[in-house]
Symmetry: C2
Subunit: 321 residues, 2 copies
């Protein structure tokens, strides 16, 4: 959850006046997204979401994110569609921050994903990858293999305060991943953060994808690895192979995976687990004073990483070569 910034009445009124949305009927901070401040904005034109981009988002990346949502929505992906003001701008400034209004998506995120959700997420991810083809802007992945070591350097000195031996274990894994990371796999625009919070369902049907603020260009199968980590483990830390198999098969129905992608899956899953272990570890060790957000447990991703290290082959995930 995150509502970081208070918006004054006057500032909101003059911001909204630039849009063809009519008068504001309601404005409430909502517990959605962790990097930005999000508000339910009801106007005479209906409900929308207003997002203030807080300091963890680089303003230079916003044209990529906004443009990507427009591109995907125009190609049939149900995702928030940025609303343009009368001058044609989808990005403005409110309360000193970059701000955008997007359409309101119906649906709810699933707290306890079942197999059918994992299958639907696999399909939606592949649809998104296909729909993103032809998007003109690119954004490098700021959180991929070459950035993990400098990221870890900011936490390494205190890593063992979280778990004895953690520093050494991460350093060993960093060395292994840097040595073995694939040089080339099919690439394109990935979501890179498709956790259950970011997928909406209506009943059992997937109704939309949100929060494209980690989207970037990288290996498509790495996106699947992120989602396997996020959706297919049980609360006790074990992989649910039925869920992973359903997600991989769902993905493959829309965009068949190549043999080299399937073979790389355990390694990509290790990388994805390490990426979230590292950012969570940093956040765990650097809770800002006055933070309104509880840091997430980094060790959840250490347990996932260890599973992937032992996996051996994609068969451990139910993937069919």
């Amino acid at each position: 959850m995150a509502v970081y910034t208070d918006v004054s009445d006057d500032a909101l009124a003059s911001f909204i006046a630039r849009y063809d949305l009519g008068a504001v009927l309601s404005f409430k901070g909502i517990a959605e997204g962790v990097e930005n401040s999000n508000f339910l904005l009801v106007t005479e034109a209906g409900p929308h979401i207003l997002t203030l981009y807080e300091k963890r988002v680089d303003p230079n990346d916003l044209p990529f994110f906004i443009g990507l949502m427009e591109h995907l929505a125009g190609r049939g992906i149900t995702c928030p569609l940025p609303v343009r003001d009368r001058s044609g701008a989808a990005l403005g400034t409110l309360a000193g921050r970059p701000a955008a209004i997007v359409t309101f998506l119906e649906g709810m995120s699933v707290r306890r994903p079942r197999v059918l959700h994992c299958a639907a997420v696999g399909e939606a991810l592949a649809h998104m990858h296909a729909a993103a083809e032809g998007f003109a802007i690119t954004r490098r992945n700021a959180l991929t293999v070459d950035s993990w070591r400098p990221l870890f350097a900011r936490s390494a000195g205190r890593a063992d305060t979280v778990l004895s031996g953690l520093r050494r274990e991460i350093e060993t894994e960093l060395g292994a991943l840097e040595a073995q990371w694939p040089a080339a796999l099919p690439a394109g625009v990935i979501h890179a953060d498709l956790f259950p919070d970011n997928v909406f369902f209506l009943g059992d049907a997937l109704s939309g994808l949100i929060d494209f603020y980690f989207a970037c260009n990288d290996f498509l199968a790495y996106d699947l690895a992120v989602s396997i980590n996020a959706w297919c483990f049980e609360p006790d830390g074990a992989l649910n192979v039925t869920k992973a198999k359903a997600m991989i098969a769902g993905y493959g129905r829309i965009r068949p995976l190549g043999a080299e992608e399937i073979a790389a899956l355990p390694l990509l899953c290790r990388g994805a687990a390490l990426r979230f272990l590292l950012t969570r570890l940093y956040d765990w060790l650097n809770v800002p004073p006055g933070a309104l957000v509880r840091p997430k447990d980094p060790l959840e991703y250490l347990r996932k990483l260890r599973f992937h290290q032992r996996a051996g082959s994609a068969a451990a995930y139910g993937a069919e070569a």
Copy 2:
């Protein structure tokens, strides 16, 4: 802001199934209220607010709060109307907590109240007092003069860590208020917490009152004193007499104040200031681990208290005897 409790999909679905609201289309935690968890619940029947009553609310008080909202809404006060399930119950259980669904009110709380807002709040408060007449349930004010000393006893030992001399200053004020507090004034159901967060406006028109979870039976003019404290001081700590005068006059247009109520106003304002000073001091000194809420500055209310001590008569608030 407050969203304390996570609600599982299954629990939500079975809770909603008891109501004639159709399928759930959206469910988002919102930053509203500080004692409870509040969610925007959009169903096929439209938007509603779902509230989970957290542990600071006594479940025995809920029939009073729920009944009061129904009573007021039935008498023309725009406030949340509890929705009854098919069995006729307005209170259920969700995620282990008492829970209620109420109607969604349009409007926004004002961050920087102007004179016209203060006048409208005075009128709405008097309308509420009049509409509450005949409400059958009573609830004693758990935060009035006889409870302030035991409340302060829980903070007194550490009061001087917040401000040197604070303990002695509060003890002196407690003695004065206990000695001088009015024995009898016109009484009825009061809101007791009508801060700007709890009043909605659409444009310049007041559109609704929310958050009746401190409502109780007490002197009606004490409610006005709470609202003067909450609405009529400037950020620099000074009373804006124009605002206070407008609020008092607005109240008097709907329910004329008696001479004894006007004469008691400075003392009632002192009491209201002390009440919020004491609860804020306690919260300041007892931030729970993992709290997602920033405690509010208790000393804001010490400055207000000192103003009221010097006020002398109701003329200092622009009240006409």
